[in-house]
Symmetry: D2
Subunit: 343 residues, 4 copies
């Protein structure tokens, strides 16, 4: 059994990690930390875990965490940067669900996250945890930077086009929509039911933290800097991300459907839907699957890609478990077989 | 492996049965029938099952179904009554998620369901599939009448009080609230998002089909006819039932918490919550658990019982699988361990 | 024109008051105060008011408010108690949408609101602003205590039965359901879309602040102390309260429909629905109407009353404007004619 | 008073027309027809109209409608085409909220609407009812083709850029999102609360009926054929459309904010928001306003336009009333002053 610890287990990615790890056949949950909730039983905070998780939150100390085989950070940006080095020193493997190690350019990181990056060495070593692109490196990684929710959907949706050199790399548009759980469990006015419910709007149109992360991945796939417009929107629902992606095709006669089916033929968690379909976010609710449909809008030279995921699963906790499975030579799908909850 | 068939697999109880049975370690899905959808792959109707269920719907014929060990009916009332006898004749065990075999009084059945009951013999033999009350009979049953969604929550909430003779049996009030999935997948105006969303109302206040079913169970528990007011309401959400139950206590000094904890001490799917808590429907979303909290409202002689369930799981498909596990000597919780999806 | 001021205009009752008063033909909005938002244009906080309200929030000073004909308090409990005396001294008439002046028993007030009551004199003078019961007193009042949202629906639903002496006064049960706007605009975890959405639960089952307020009104109507169980629930929607009310009839042959139609025959904002109907909260969304339906559940001696209101209108701001109309001899319905927004 | 009739008053545009016309100071509702509901009081179908509209539905006969000054068609496509000619013959002015007269190219109309167009003469005479573009022609029109919901938001969002020749006319992308009321009140599976709730997806990506209508308007504004990709999405809410619009700027130094403020300076129902803001659909719920914000995404040469409307008001019934006001020389805003309902 793999002994797993979670730092910061009181948010939505935390409870989702708990749900997945508690049911994982090869994992023993050994520590869940929270400064605010130390001493409180986990099941008091998350009643869905009553009778399943009998741990209580503890203070985040080296001791408890140092004995784990793997530690997941589900913490505000900046925390993993502080605590990961000592743990890795002790031989603990780390998966950071935050953003601390996602960007290679630390000046850009400092610009977007509003603090200096204090851990350049590990940042250089960290592996970006998108298995569909970095599977082998993840297997060997001591530190995995788990991708953001938007970046997972947008990258998986656009990468096949860029790898194939099929589109004008300056014409990329990502119109993304997310359920409110992406904004976290901290009480804030704009995510109250009375503010976000029965309402729809864009946000961060002037620039969103996930933009540089997405751009970094797309640049790698294209082999050169891409031009990308990324506009996130808040959807009045709890879970789910829908990325609507546009790119101008260089050769309108290309077989898009074949391109995507081939690229993801061996991917357990990417489902290329039949031509003419429209993936629904609910079809992956609670599941680690990403579903992608490919369209050629009538009378235009654009490719239209529709990609959906559960932002808390493939967009966060599920992908983290997928990465853990790879790091510990377990079947990649272990503990991630659950079927989307529909309706 | 148990070979299982489903008659009427295009509704919400049908897709939920598919989700549970597809993941059940001892079940092989061998037939799913639908008159309307014969020939259509199940995964085309329910995309969450893509890659999981590769069956297509077939016409409901004796042949395919007769080879099953168990057949589930997720059909409109009246269908199981027609088809079950021949199947049982062939040695197939039947679990009816409809109402055909729930009432012992067939005149009352005919009154509430608006058609004559054509299968008195089986009706007399059928076992009411509430494991918390009829576990042993279910093990041996050829035909199980799976309880309705409201009756499951209301009976589990009130039975301990009635069995203990603790309340005025003429003072029972069940104020019940259900998500819209209880109304089924047939397109009807009142369950459109634009009608049921951002809206709350009671319905069937003059009398609801689940009233006689609940009354029958409560009469058994009380050992005499009870007086019950049952008022269902439609909640603007998809899954979940919340039953708010009131009964006047004969002895206000009774230890209600102890009574409930004792009654359900050995029940795998009934969770008696700590004193002073309020169970949330989301805590059992997708799970087979019922959570119950017991209150003594300030300055009154009433007991207040709060009970929640997922109407599609413990209120329908999950309870059906629980019954199947009992009928085939499998661990009662097999295939039903999934944790509530929160948020 | 009546010069109106609002103290605490940043919450949901505040913005609803702004919406109603901005469109009121005989009112000039002259001051809106907010300690937190002083200097911010109202329309920056509430974009629906762009082009309609061009005021900015100001500090709550005697000056600005003292020049008003009427001042509305949409503030946390305790504020009106502090500020109202000086204003009334200056001849300003006050309508408190908070709870400071709702209870005659100030010890009970201190018990439920967790602070001493510092304004006994005004508390004795304040008129409870339920026009259907205190219309004449309201006309002459210097200080009106605007009823709470739950108390408005529950009292209007039960008072006809109590005034007529038709029910066992110890058998009253109020099972009430409210949209999340009743919990206010302050960011709190339990009202986040991800917590309150797709979820249903009771709260305050052990005792809710509106219980003594409701009891006071029902005692007056019954002419003796009543026995009441009051259980509030949170509905996953924004606006609306549905009260499901139960009382045991002394004479089961009574004409309930006639009783209610007669009691409310001349009330502009109480609609007694036809027999057998179920009022929907959406039918009064944004409107000042209360709709009530009366039922006799089959085979019981209980009366079942269903009452709906918009908790922010008849349950708060609309009723406050109705009271203002009475206080200033305006047509009672002026500025309150808007039709429920459906769908 | 203007005598108004409505053909097809049982859908969502119908009830919204009723809400607006019932409160319009210069309109007398004289007839509401419905084949299915003839004889039923309107208020039985729409309880929000109880006490406000006392008409019953009637059969759509020439008689009742022929006496009206104006008749609104809120009917399935094809109906207005049949009935309008005779009414116009009688001197009745007609506003069609359907699509029958929106396209000038009747072959394209037949292609998209799947039936031959039988009324070429009137189609040639009909005025497209977008006041911001055709105000003077509307004043004189006998027949107004009221724009579709998506076309209103997309055209108002893009026209200033096209009229100014500021963008590459082949680079237009309209990523549009609509609440479920846009799909109408006919019971259909995909708009059930259990299908559309907690879910998000695109639809009609291969081509939507509103595409040719939008293209026609944009071609007029650009003075040449534009290249447009239009992708609609279904949002889990009742009312509201959000159009996210992208176009490549020819001159990135252009003053976009000034361009929009100038274009709409005198428009009573177009609100150009301050730079850097994100309009919310709820800010126009129940109101006839369109709110537009203009952005320049960081490091790209695209213009990003965000436009919101209430699809049932400015996107349908409200715009129809605005057109009626113009046709009958009433103040353009009469009966359309109601403020967005927030929260």
């Amino acid at each position: 059994m793999i002994s797993a610890g979670i730092v910061g287990g009181t948010g939505y990615t935390g409870v989702e990690l708990l749900r997945l790890l508690a049911a994982h056949p090869s994992v023993a949950l050994s520590a869940i930390t929270s400064r605010g909730q130390a001493g409180t039983p986990v099941a008091d905070v998350f009643p869905n875990l009553r009778g399943v998780v009998d741990l209580a939150y503890t203070e985040p100390t080296q001791g408890t965490l140092g004995d784990c085989d793997v530690v997941f950070f589900a913490t505000p940006n900046g925390t993993a940067m502080e605590m990961a080095p000592a743990l890795i020193e002790q031989g603990v493997r780390v998966i950071d669900l935050g953003a601390d190690f996602r960007l290679r350019d630390l000046d850009e990181w400092a610009h977007w996250y509003g603090m200096p990056h204090t851990c350049a060495a590990l940042a250089a070593e960290a592996v970006y945890g998108l298995p569909e692109c970095h599977r082998e490196a993840i297997r060997a990684a001591r530190l995995v930077a788990n991708p953001g929710c938007y970046p997972t959907a947008v990258q998986l949706g656009l990468i096949p086009l860029l790898e194939a050199g099929a589109v004008d790399t300056q014409s990329l548009i990502a119109d993304a929509k997310s359920g409110a759980s992406g904004a976290g469990r901290q009480p804030r006015q704009h995510t109250l039911l009375c503010e976000a419910g029965e309402n729809f709007h864009a946000y961060g149109a002037s620039g969103h933290r996930h933009l540089p992360e997405i751009r970094q991945g797309l640049n790698d796939a294209a082999g050169k800097p891409v031009g990308l417009v990324f506009v996130p929107h808040l959807v009045p629902m709890i879970r789910g991300i829908h990325a609507t992606l546009y790119a101008r095709l260089l050769d309108p006669t290309i077989d898009l459907q074949g391109l995507y089916e081939q690229r993801y033929a061996n991917e357990p968690f990417v489902d290329v839907m039949p031509p003419g379909t429209h993936p629904e976010t609910r079809s992956v609710r609670g599941s680690n699957m990403v579903r992608i449909a490919v369209h050629r809008p009538e009378g235009s030279d654009y490719a239209l890609i529709l990609a959906v995921e559960d932002n808390l699963v493939k967009g966060a906790a599920g992908q983290a478990v997928q990465n853990m499975n790879l790091m510990f030579d377990l079947p990649e799908t272990m503990g991630l077989e659950s079927i989307g909850l529909l309706p």
